[in-house]
């Protein structure tokens, strides 16, 4: 792409003492508190575990991570930056610069994983694969075309779907390894990325909905239709990509459930109802629990088997401003 990205038209000194939208401050603070660097994760402890993987499993893992690297690079250098000119408040612009930088940290952290676990030759080979895989290239191109497009709300839709949906065909694998007690430090690092992407998707989706408040009913309908069309287009491609990656290890069907589950969450981040019914979003409990140890949700209190919930689980309740 050679078109120039539009820059913010007019810049005024940002005054953090005059806040128009409290969400900007809340999310800025959240992102700053969540800041991390890959160097803080002891990835080298995974070397032994890496050596227990088969060649096919190693190859799959490398390819998954180069795919994720591509998406984070796209989001860091184009995606988050392309949202700046349409920001409603100056603080929103600042939040996007934080998001852009963090995406570059994510992109770099995959290289930390590679350099710890693999040889230069294997790394180069995996990057070559990522430039040649049609479905991976296609998903990047679809999103990129909207970043360079004229419609600011469609840019936010594309960005939210990238943050909240497109990463998950890749995120599945480190969660899978983690559930089998493999590459657990790598999984810790990926969990930090997953947490960041949730804040990014939430915020961009929120700003999208703020934008919707200002447009006509007709335009709202157009954007809703557009969102679901784009989701279908990306979904079809994700299914192909998932088969490319996971057919060799027999995990494609399991990954697809994870895709459905996350597609629903991406739509919800944009304020739309979930699209995939519960019958196809029943993510493998081992994967869900690798993602969140508290998501063990087959036994809720309402279903009658949740007696363990009657007594609150061991949580620190004292870090709030209680008067009792």
């Amino acid at each position: 792409m050679t078109e120039k990205l539009k820059l913010a038209g007019h810049v005024e000194a940002i005054n953090w003492n005059r806040i128009q939208d409290d969400k900007d401050v809340e999310v800025w603070n959240r992102l700053v508190n969540n800041f991390w660097l890959p160097e803080k994760i002891p990835l080298s402890n995974d070397v032994q575990s890496w050596n227990t993987l088969t060649e096919a499993e190693k190859l799959l893992t490398m390819r998954v991570f180069t795919g994720l690297t591509l998406l984070d690079t796209l989001q860091g250098t184009v995606g988050a930056v392309s949202l700046i000119p349409d920001a409603i408040t100056p603080h929103e612009e600042a939040v996007y610069t934080n998001i852009a930088f963090m995406e570059s940290v994510h992109a770099k952290s995959y290289s930390s994983i590679f350099s710890t676990l693999a040889s230069t030759k294997d790394i180069d080979e995996a990057f070559r694969w990522s430039t040649e895989n049609e479905n991976l290239q296609k998903k990047a191109q679809i999103i990129e075309s909207y970043y360079y497009g004229e419609d600011p709300l469609k840019r936010k839709i594309a960005s939210t779907l990238l943050e909240s949906f497109l990463f998950y065909s890749g995120f599945y694998l480190p969660m899978y390894w983690s559930s089998r007690a493999k590459l657990t430090n790598t999984a810790d690092l990926i969990r930090l990325i997953i947490r960041d992407e949730a804040v990014h998707g939430y915020y961009i989706g929120y700003k999208f909905q703020k934008g919707l408040e200002k447009v006509s009913e007709e335009r709202r309908q157009e954007l809703k239709d557009y969102t679901f069309e784009l989701m279908f287009e990306l979904y079809e491609n994700e299914v192909q990509y998932t088969h490319d990656l996971y057919d060799g290890v027999g995990l494609a069907e399991d990954v697809k459930k994870f895709l459905h589950y996350n597609a629903n969450k991406a739509l919800m981040n944009l304020g739309y109802e979930a699209m995939f019914p519960a019958s196809v979003t029943d993510v493998n409990p081992a994967i869900l629990s690798a993602l969140s140890p508290n998501a063990d949700e087959n036994h809720d209190f309402f279903s009658g088997s949740g007696s363990s919930y009657v007594i609150g689980k061991a949580v620190n309740t004292e870090d709030e401003d209680w008067d009792f």
Binding site: K23, L291, S292, A295, T317
Partner: protein
Amino acid sequence: MPTSALARSRVHDNAIAAEVHTKNNLIYFSSASGYTHRFAEKLDLECARIPLKSHEPHLVADEPFVLLLPTYGGEKGERSIPPQVVKFLNDARNRHLIAGVIGAGNTNFGTAYCLAARKIAAKCNVPLLYKFELMGTPEDVTRVHQGLEVFWTRKSQNLK
């Protein structure tokens, strides 16, 4: 105390004294992004919302209620409960009537998933009834709607 400070403190007390009472059995908190609000709307039950801004009147429960809230907060989960909810529960009248908690959240936050709801359940010694993500799927809405109905029916039978 100088008179001006006294006058100011009175105004402040008056502001705090402004109250709204509710008999609804579902009370929820939702931030400006409104995901939890939308879940509450989909439940189609009489409910009351904890005020977002400090200048709004304080909410007081007159009947037993289930509290529905999302989780906020940092990496270690500190201050994951919105300050408005802490203020609401710091009122003894409210916390004596809380009967259960429902949490909204996102599994992407790992161990902090629905942490605010878990904390309140533990602190107030009431059951954590259900957890769901973002604004909830249609299945979540059905389960919570039916679950609450059974929950309150059992409660009223136990009281007899």
